[in-house]
Protein backbone atom coordinates (compact mmCIF):
# COMPACT_ATOMS: atom_id res chain seq x y z
CA UNK A 1 0.00 0.00 0.00
CA UNK A 2 1.33 3.33 -0.96
CA UNK A 3 0.80 4.90 2.42
CA UNK A 4 3.48 2.65 3.77
CA UNK A 5 5.98 4.17 1.41
CA UNK A 6 6.02 7.45 3.23
CA UNK A 7 9.38 7.53 4.85
CA UNK A 8 9.81 10.80 6.54
CA UNK A 9 13.17 10.98 8.24
CA UNK A 10 12.31 14.53 9.15
CA UNK A 11 10.00 13.06 11.72
CA UNK A 12 12.99 11.75 13.58
CA UNK A 13 13.84 15.17 14.87
CA UNK A 14 12.54 15.41 18.37
CA UNK A 15 11.36 18.97 18.18
CA UNK A 16 7.77 19.38 17.22
CA UNK A 17 8.80 20.43 13.76
CA UNK A 18 6.96 22.47 11.28
CA UNK A 19 5.50 19.40 9.72
CA UNK A 20 3.54 19.85 6.56
CA UNK A 21 2.01 16.47 5.99
CA UNK A 22 0.49 14.55 8.81
CA UNK A 23 1.12 10.86 8.28
CA UNK A 24 -0.70 9.66 5.24
CA UNK A 25 -1.94 6.32 6.38
CA UNK A 26 -4.87 4.24 5.35
CA UNK A 27 -8.10 4.16 7.25
CA UNK A 28 -7.69 2.34 10.52
CA UNK A 29 -3.93 2.84 10.62
CA UNK A 30 -2.99 4.69 13.78
CA UNK A 31 -0.91 7.82 13.23
CA UNK A 32 2.60 8.09 14.63
CA UNK A 33 1.39 9.83 17.74
CA UNK A 34 -1.06 7.04 18.44
CA UNK A 35 1.71 4.48 17.99
CA UNK A 36 3.73 6.42 20.54
CA UNK A 37 0.81 6.37 22.93
CA UNK A 38 0.21 2.63 22.48
CA UNK A 39 3.90 1.97 23.01
CA UNK A 40 4.07 4.04 26.17
CA UNK A 41 0.95 2.34 27.48
CA UNK A 42 2.57 -1.05 27.05
CA UNK A 43 0.17 -2.22 24.34
CA UNK A 44 1.99 -4.94 22.43
CA UNK A 45 0.60 -3.63 19.18
CA UNK A 46 2.55 -0.45 19.87
CA UNK A 47 5.85 -2.33 19.72
CA UNK A 48 4.90 -4.15 16.53
CA UNK A 49 3.80 -0.93 14.83
CA UNK A 50 6.90 0.92 16.00
CA UNK A 51 9.00 -1.85 14.51
CA UNK A 52 7.12 -1.68 11.23
CA UNK A 53 7.68 2.02 10.94
CA UNK A 54 11.13 2.65 12.39
CA UNK A 55 13.13 -0.58 12.46
CA UNK A 56 14.51 0.32 9.03
CA UNK A 57 15.75 3.68 10.27
CA UNK A 58 17.36 2.17 13.36
CA UNK A 59 18.85 -0.71 11.43
CA UNK A 60 20.18 1.72 8.83
CA UNK A 61 22.15 3.49 11.58
CA UNK A 62 23.40 0.18 12.95
CA UNK A 63 24.49 -0.99 9.52
CA UNK A 64 26.32 2.27 8.87
CA UNK A 65 28.15 1.79 12.17
CA UNK A 66 29.04 -1.89 11.89
CA UNK A 67 28.29 -3.05 8.37
CA UNK A 68 25.55 -5.60 7.73
CA UNK A 69 25.76 -8.60 10.01
CA UNK A 70 25.44 -9.80 13.60
CA UNK A 71 26.67 -6.63 15.34
CA UNK A 72 24.22 -4.41 13.48
CA UNK A 73 21.39 -6.87 14.07
CA UNK A 74 22.24 -6.99 17.78
CA UNK A 75 22.10 -3.21 17.97
CA UNK A 76 18.67 -3.12 16.32
CA UNK A 77 17.37 -5.91 18.49
CA UNK A 78 18.72 -4.38 21.68
CA UNK A 79 17.34 -0.99 20.75
CA UNK A 80 13.78 -2.28 20.50
CA UNK A 81 14.05 -4.64 23.47
CA UNK A 82 15.44 -2.02 25.77
CA UNK A 83 13.07 0.65 24.46
CA UNK A 84 10.20 -1.72 25.24
CA UNK A 85 11.37 -2.75 28.67
CA UNK A 86 12.31 0.84 29.44
CA UNK A 87 9.15 2.34 27.96
CA UNK A 88 8.36 3.90 31.33
CA UNK A 89 11.08 6.40 30.44
CA UNK A 90 9.31 7.49 27.28
CA UNK A 91 6.95 10.43 27.55
CA UNK A 92 4.83 10.97 24.43
CA UNK A 93 4.33 14.60 25.35
CA UNK A 94 8.07 15.24 25.31
CA UNK A 95 8.70 14.16 21.74
CA UNK A 96 7.87 11.65 19.03
CA UNK A 97 8.64 7.98 19.57
CA UNK A 98 11.01 7.62 16.59
CA UNK A 99 13.28 10.35 17.99
CA UNK A 100 13.38 8.51 21.28
CA UNK A 101 14.14 5.20 19.58
CA UNK A 102 16.98 6.81 17.66
CA UNK A 103 18.37 8.10 20.97
CA UNK A 104 18.29 4.57 22.37
CA UNK A 105 19.99 3.28 19.22
CA UNK A 106 22.83 5.78 19.71
CA UNK A 107 23.41 4.38 23.19
CA UNK A 108 23.51 0.83 21.83
CA UNK A 109 25.94 1.79 19.09
CA UNK A 110 28.18 3.53 21.62
CA UNK A 111 27.99 0.44 23.88
CA UNK A 112 29.09 -1.80 21.07
CA UNK A 113 31.97 0.48 20.15
CA UNK A 114 33.11 0.54 23.76
CA UNK A 115 32.87 -3.22 24.03
CA UNK A 116 34.98 -3.68 20.92
CA UNK A 117 37.49 -1.21 22.21
CA UNK A 118 37.73 -3.07 25.51
CA UNK A 119 38.22 -6.37 23.71
CA UNK A 120 40.96 -4.89 21.62
CA UNK A 121 42.74 -3.57 24.70
CA UNK A 122 42.44 -6.91 26.42
CA UNK A 123 43.85 -8.68 23.41
CA UNK A 124 46.70 -6.23 23.18
CA UNK A 125 47.35 -6.51 26.89
CA UNK A 126 47.34 -10.29 26.71
CA UNK A 127 49.86 -10.16 23.93
CA UNK A 128 52.13 -7.78 25.78
CA UNK A 129 51.80 -9.87 28.96
CA UNK A 130 53.21 -12.77 27.11
CA UNK A 131 55.95 -10.72 25.63
CA UNK A 132 57.10 -8.66 28.56
CA UNK A 133 56.78 -7.95 32.22
CA UNK A 134 53.24 -7.48 33.56
CA UNK A 135 51.88 -4.03 33.01
CA UNK A 136 49.09 -2.24 34.84
CA UNK A 137 45.52 -3.53 35.00
CA UNK A 138 43.78 -3.73 31.69
CA UNK A 139 40.83 -1.70 32.84
CA UNK A 140 42.90 1.30 33.87
CA UNK A 141 42.58 3.28 30.69
CA UNK A 142 39.02 3.88 29.71
CA UNK A 143 39.43 5.98 26.65
CA UNK A 144 38.48 9.58 27.34
CA UNK A 145 36.55 9.97 24.15
CA UNK A 146 34.49 6.87 24.79
CA UNK A 147 33.74 8.00 28.32
CA UNK A 148 32.82 11.46 27.08
CA UNK A 149 30.48 9.96 24.53
CA UNK A 150 28.56 8.06 27.18
CA UNK A 151 28.29 11.12 29.35
CA UNK A 152 27.05 13.33 26.54
CA UNK A 153 24.46 10.80 25.35
CA UNK A 154 23.33 10.38 28.93
CA UNK A 155 23.02 14.12 29.51
CA UNK A 156 21.07 14.53 26.26
CA UNK A 157 18.49 12.14 27.66
CA UNK A 158 18.02 14.50 30.59
CA UNK A 159 17.35 17.58 28.47
CA UNK A 160 13.83 18.87 28.06
CA UNK A 161 12.31 20.20 24.86
CA UNK A 162 13.00 22.17 22.83
CA UNK A 163 16.61 22.08 24.05
CA UNK A 164 17.09 18.44 23.21
CA UNK A 165 15.67 18.68 19.72
CA UNK A 166 17.71 21.78 18.97
CA UNK A 167 21.03 20.32 20.03
CA UNK A 168 20.27 17.04 18.28
CA UNK A 169 19.68 18.88 15.03
CA UNK A 170 23.01 20.65 15.50
CA UNK A 171 24.95 17.57 16.60
CA UNK A 172 23.48 14.83 14.51
CA UNK A 173 21.92 16.49 11.48
CA UNK A 174 24.62 19.13 11.27
CA UNK A 175 22.21 22.01 10.75
CA UNK A 176 23.23 25.62 11.25
CA UNK A 177 21.40 27.68 13.84
CA UNK A 178 19.56 29.45 11.02
CA UNK A 179 18.44 26.13 9.57
CA UNK A 180 17.34 24.93 12.99
CA UNK A 181 15.27 28.07 13.41
CA UNK A 182 13.69 27.47 10.02
CA UNK A 183 13.07 23.81 10.79
CA UNK A 184 11.53 24.36 14.18
CA UNK A 185 9.91 27.74 13.70
CA UNK A 186 11.70 29.03 16.79
CA UNK A 187 13.23 32.52 16.75
CA UNK A 188 16.94 32.67 15.93
CA UNK A 189 17.84 34.27 19.23
CA UNK A 190 16.08 31.48 21.10
CA UNK A 191 17.91 28.82 19.13
CA UNK A 192 21.27 30.49 19.73
CA UNK A 193 20.76 30.86 23.44
CA UNK A 194 19.54 27.26 23.82
CA UNK A 195 22.61 26.07 21.94
CA UNK A 196 24.89 28.05 24.21
CA UNK A 197 23.23 26.93 27.41
CA UNK A 198 23.16 23.29 26.35
CA UNK A 199 26.84 23.28 25.39
CA UNK A 200 27.65 24.87 28.74
CA UNK A 201 25.59 22.26 30.52
CA UNK A 202 27.32 19.43 28.65
CA UNK A 203 30.69 20.95 29.47
CA UNK A 204 29.82 21.01 33.14
CA UNK A 205 28.77 17.37 33.02
CA UNK A 206 32.02 16.39 31.34
CA UNK A 207 34.10 18.42 33.76
CA UNK A 208 32.38 16.99 36.81
CA UNK A 209 31.83 13.35 35.84
CA UNK A 210 34.53 13.11 33.22
CA UNK A 211 37.11 14.30 35.69
CA UNK A 212 35.87 11.84 38.29
CA UNK A 213 36.27 8.99 35.83
CA UNK A 214 39.89 9.76 35.29
CA UNK A 215 40.82 10.69 38.83
Amino acid sequence: MSELLTIRPRNLGSVAAVDPQPAQRGAGEPDDQEVGRLFAAGEEEGLALAYERWAGQVHGMAVRAFGPGPDAEDVTQQTFVSAWTGRGGYRPEKGPLPAWLVGVARHKIADTWARRDRQRRETEAAVSDMQAAPSGPVTAGVDTEIADRFLVLDELDLLGQPQRGIIELAFFEDLTHAQIAARTGLPLGTVKSHIRRTLERLRTRLEVDGAALHA
Partner: protein, 249 residues
Protein backbone atom coordinates in the same frame (compact mmCIF):
# COMPACT_ATOMS: atom_id res chain seq x y z
CA UNK B 1 39.02 44.70 22.02
CA UNK B 2 35.64 43.30 22.79
CA UNK B 3 35.33 39.55 23.36
CA UNK B 4 33.01 37.39 21.28
CA UNK B 5 29.56 36.87 22.75
CA UNK B 6 28.95 33.54 24.49
CA UNK B 7 26.44 32.71 21.73
CA UNK B 8 29.03 33.23 19.01
CA UNK B 9 31.54 31.11 20.90
CA UNK B 10 29.00 28.31 21.15
CA UNK B 11 28.38 28.49 17.40
CA UNK B 12 32.15 28.42 16.88
CA UNK B 13 32.29 25.26 18.99
CA UNK B 14 29.81 23.76 16.55
CA UNK B 15 32.09 24.93 13.74
CA UNK B 16 29.66 27.35 12.27
CA UNK B 17 31.44 30.10 10.39
CA UNK B 18 31.59 33.32 12.39
CA UNK B 19 31.48 36.90 11.16
CA UNK B 20 34.84 38.36 10.17
CA UNK B 21 35.16 40.48 13.27
CA UNK B 22 34.65 37.49 15.55
CA UNK B 23 36.95 35.31 13.51
CA UNK B 24 39.69 37.90 13.76
CA UNK B 25 39.15 38.32 17.46
CA UNK B 26 39.18 34.59 18.04
CA UNK B 27 42.48 34.24 16.26
CA UNK B 28 44.02 36.73 18.63
CA UNK B 29 42.31 35.93 21.91
CA UNK B 30 43.47 32.99 24.01
CA UNK B 31 40.58 33.36 26.39
CA UNK B 32 37.90 33.07 23.71
CA UNK B 33 39.71 30.21 22.04
CA UNK B 34 39.97 28.34 25.31
CA UNK B 35 36.22 28.81 25.77
CA UNK B 36 35.52 27.38 22.33
CA UNK B 37 37.77 24.41 22.99
CA UNK B 38 36.11 23.65 26.29
CA UNK B 39 32.66 23.78 24.67
CA UNK B 40 33.86 21.66 21.79
CA UNK B 41 34.65 18.64 23.94
CA UNK B 42 31.02 17.54 23.99
CA UNK B 43 30.56 18.31 20.30
CA UNK B 44 33.51 16.11 19.39
CA UNK B 45 32.41 13.31 21.68
CA UNK B 46 29.32 12.62 19.61
CA UNK B 47 30.37 14.03 16.26
CA UNK B 48 30.28 10.73 14.44
CA UNK B 49 28.32 10.32 11.24
CA UNK B 50 26.89 7.02 12.41
CA UNK B 51 24.78 8.92 14.93
CA UNK B 52 22.84 10.70 12.21
CA UNK B 53 19.34 9.33 11.84
CA UNK B 54 18.63 10.61 8.38
CA UNK B 55 20.58 8.08 6.36
CA UNK B 56 18.92 5.49 4.18
CA UNK B 57 16.83 2.96 6.08
CA UNK B 58 17.77 -0.70 5.86
CA UNK B 59 15.21 -3.42 6.45
CA UNK B 60 16.46 -5.77 9.17
CA UNK B 61 16.23 -9.50 8.43
CA UNK B 62 13.22 -11.32 9.97
CA UNK B 63 15.37 -12.98 12.65
CA UNK B 64 15.82 -9.60 14.34
CA UNK B 65 12.12 -9.40 15.14
CA UNK B 66 12.14 -13.04 16.19
CA UNK B 67 14.78 -12.27 18.83
CA UNK B 68 12.85 -9.23 19.98
CA UNK B 69 9.66 -11.28 20.32
CA UNK B 70 11.57 -13.96 22.21
CA UNK B 71 13.15 -11.43 24.57
CA UNK B 72 9.99 -9.46 25.27
CA UNK B 73 7.34 -12.17 25.03
CA UNK B 74 5.31 -9.87 22.82
CA UNK B 75 2.79 -11.78 20.71
CA UNK B 76 1.75 -9.01 18.34
CA UNK B 77 3.81 -9.11 15.17
CA UNK B 78 4.79 -6.50 12.66
CA UNK B 79 3.65 -7.30 9.14
CA UNK B 80 6.87 -8.31 7.42
CA UNK B 81 5.65 -6.68 4.23
CA UNK B 82 5.24 -3.40 6.06
CA UNK B 83 8.81 -3.50 7.35
CA UNK B 84 10.13 -4.37 3.91
CA UNK B 85 7.94 -2.03 1.96
CA UNK B 86 8.37 0.87 4.30
CA UNK B 87 12.12 0.55 4.07
CA UNK B 88 12.98 -0.81 0.68
CA UNK B 89 16.52 0.49 0.60
CA UNK B 90 19.10 -2.19 0.02
CA UNK B 91 22.33 -2.75 1.86
CA UNK B 92 24.40 -1.05 -0.76
CA UNK B 93 24.44 1.95 1.50
CA UNK B 94 26.20 -0.04 4.14
CA UNK B 95 29.84 0.54 4.06
CA UNK B 96 32.28 0.68 6.85
CA UNK B 97 34.94 -1.86 7.49
CA UNK B 98 35.04 -3.59 10.82
CA UNK B 99 38.00 -1.54 11.91
CA UNK B 100 36.51 1.72 10.94
CA UNK B 101 34.85 1.95 14.32
CA UNK B 102 34.64 5.59 15.17
CA UNK B 103 35.32 8.24 12.61
CA UNK B 104 35.21 11.72 13.94
CA UNK B 105 33.84 14.04 11.33
CA UNK B 106 32.31 17.38 11.00
CA UNK B 107 32.45 18.82 7.62
CA UNK B 108 28.94 18.44 6.39
CA UNK B 109 28.17 21.91 7.58
CA UNK B 110 29.39 23.67 4.53
CA UNK B 111 30.28 27.26 4.95
CA UNK B 112 28.14 29.23 2.57
CA UNK B 113 30.10 30.35 -0.45
CA UNK B 114 29.29 33.55 -2.13
CA UNK B 115 30.07 37.10 -1.50
CA UNK B 116 29.24 40.34 -3.09
CA UNK B 117 31.66 39.57 -5.89
CA UNK B 118 29.77 36.42 -6.68
CA UNK B 119 26.77 38.51 -7.47
CA UNK B 120 28.67 39.60 -10.49
CA UNK B 121 30.19 36.22 -11.17
CA UNK B 122 26.80 34.60 -11.11
CA UNK B 123 27.47 32.05 -8.40
CA UNK B 124 24.41 30.65 -6.73
CA UNK B 125 24.05 29.38 -3.24
CA UNK B 126 21.96 26.37 -2.51
CA UNK B 127 22.82 25.78 1.11
CA UNK B 128 20.35 26.34 3.81
CA UNK B 129 17.21 25.95 1.84
CA UNK B 130 14.51 24.44 3.93
CA UNK B 131 11.07 24.31 2.47
CA UNK B 132 8.03 23.71 4.52
CA UNK B 133 4.33 24.06 4.13
CA UNK B 134 2.18 25.02 6.96
CA UNK B 135 -1.32 26.13 7.63
CA UNK B 136 -1.56 29.32 9.56
CA UNK B 137 -4.31 31.44 10.94
CA UNK B 138 -3.53 34.36 8.70
CA UNK B 139 -3.06 32.47 5.47
CA UNK B 140 -1.24 29.55 3.92
CA UNK B 141 2.49 29.39 4.15
CA UNK B 142 3.81 28.58 0.70
CA UNK B 143 7.45 28.13 1.48
CA UNK B 144 10.08 29.18 3.94
CA UNK B 145 13.82 29.43 3.89
CA UNK B 146 16.66 29.97 6.30
CA UNK B 147 18.78 32.99 5.49
CA UNK B 148 22.33 31.97 6.19
CA UNK B 149 25.07 34.47 6.77
CA UNK B 150 27.39 35.06 3.88
CA UNK B 151 31.07 34.93 4.80
CA UNK B 152 32.31 37.65 7.08
CA UNK B 153 28.82 38.62 8.08
CA UNK B 154 26.82 38.42 11.22
CA UNK B 155 23.38 38.48 9.67
CA UNK B 156 21.07 35.51 9.55
CA UNK B 157 17.36 35.03 9.46
CA UNK B 158 14.35 33.37 8.03
CA UNK B 159 11.89 34.25 5.31
CA UNK B 160 8.42 32.81 4.90
CA UNK B 161 6.25 33.33 1.89
CA UNK B 162 2.63 33.42 2.96
CA UNK B 163 -0.45 33.42 0.75
CA UNK B 164 -3.14 35.48 2.40
CA UNK B 165 -6.80 34.70 2.15
CA UNK B 166 -7.40 37.54 -0.31
CA UNK B 167 -4.95 35.93 -2.72
CA UNK B 168 -2.08 38.34 -2.13
CA UNK B 169 1.31 37.09 -1.02
CA UNK B 170 3.71 38.46 1.53
CA UNK B 171 7.18 37.62 2.77
CA UNK B 172 7.60 37.52 6.51
CA UNK B 173 11.19 38.25 7.27
CA UNK B 174 12.94 37.66 10.54
CA UNK B 175 16.35 39.26 10.44
CA UNK B 176 18.97 38.82 13.10
CA UNK B 177 21.65 41.34 12.28
CA UNK B 178 23.50 44.24 13.83
CA UNK B 179 21.98 47.71 13.64
CA UNK B 180 23.52 49.93 10.98
CA UNK B 181 24.65 53.54 10.94
CA UNK B 182 24.18 55.51 7.73
CA UNK B 183 23.28 52.33 5.86
CA UNK B 184 20.21 50.13 5.69
CA UNK B 185 19.20 46.58 4.88
CA UNK B 186 17.23 45.82 1.76
CA UNK B 187 15.43 42.64 0.80
CA UNK B 188 15.68 41.23 -2.72
CA UNK B 189 14.49 38.34 -4.78
CA UNK B 190 17.14 37.34 -7.28
CA UNK B 191 17.17 34.90 -10.18
CA UNK B 192 19.54 31.98 -10.46
CA UNK B 193 21.84 33.79 -12.82
CA UNK B 194 22.08 36.59 -10.28
CA UNK B 195 21.18 39.05 -12.95
CA UNK B 196 17.50 39.77 -12.49
CA UNK B 197 16.68 41.36 -9.14
CA UNK B 198 13.40 42.40 -7.62
CA UNK B 199 13.78 44.90 -4.76
CA UNK B 200 11.27 44.25 -2.00
CA UNK B 201 12.14 47.16 0.19
CA UNK B 202 13.82 48.22 3.38
CA UNK B 203 14.09 45.74 6.23
CA UNK B 204 15.51 46.07 9.70
CA UNK B 205 16.68 43.67 12.40
CA UNK B 206 13.59 42.01 13.81
CA UNK B 207 10.42 40.68 12.22
CA UNK B 208 8.44 42.35 9.47
CA UNK B 209 6.10 41.63 6.61
CA UNK B 210 6.83 42.70 3.06
CA UNK B 211 4.34 42.65 0.21
CA UNK B 212 5.17 40.60 -2.88
CA UNK B 213 4.35 41.93 -6.35
CA UNK B 214 1.27 40.13 -7.67
CA UNK B 215 2.02 37.48 -10.28
CA UNK B 216 5.74 37.50 -9.55
CA UNK B 217 7.04 34.03 -10.34
CA UNK B 218 9.03 32.91 -7.31
CA UNK B 219 10.46 30.04 -9.32
CA UNK B 220 12.12 32.61 -11.51
CA UNK B 221 13.53 34.57 -8.56
CA UNK B 222 14.26 31.95 -5.93
CA UNK B 223 17.12 33.63 -4.06
CA UNK B 224 16.10 35.63 -1.02
CA UNK B 225 18.86 38.11 -0.42
CA UNK B 226 19.52 40.75 2.23
CA UNK B 227 21.90 43.51 1.23
CA UNK B 228 23.43 46.49 2.95
CA UNK B 229 22.68 49.66 1.03
CA UNK B 230 24.37 53.01 1.47
CA UNK B 231 22.26 56.18 1.57
CA UNK B 232 23.50 57.23 -1.85
CA UNK B 233 20.27 57.40 -3.78
CA UNK B 234 21.29 54.60 -6.09
CA UNK B 235 18.36 52.21 -6.42
CA UNK B 236 20.43 49.24 -7.62
CA UNK B 237 21.86 46.48 -5.47
CA UNK B 238 24.99 47.66 -3.67
CA UNK B 239 26.68 44.31 -4.25
CA UNK B 240 27.06 43.85 -0.52
CA UNK B 241 24.96 40.86 0.48
CA UNK B 242 24.96 39.71 4.07
CA UNK B 243 22.51 36.82 4.20
CA UNK B 244 20.84 34.62 1.67
CA UNK B 245 18.69 31.56 1.18
CA UNK B 246 17.17 29.77 -1.78
CA UNK B 247 13.45 29.20 -1.90
CA UNK B 248 12.35 25.72 -2.77
CA UNK B 249 9.46 26.51 -5.05
Amino acid sequence: MQHCTPEQLALAALREPLPAEDTAHLAACDRCRAEVRSLQRSVDAVAVPQFAATGAPVAPPPRVWESIAAATGVAATPRPAAVEVAHPVAEESAPPSRDADVLPFRSRRRPVLLVAAALVAGVVVGAGAVAVLQSRDDGQEITAVALDPLPDNDASGRAEVVARDDGSRVVEVELDAPALDDEYYELWLIDRDVVGMVPLGVVRPGTQTVELPADLDLGEFPLVDVSVEPLDGDPTHSGVSVARGELDT
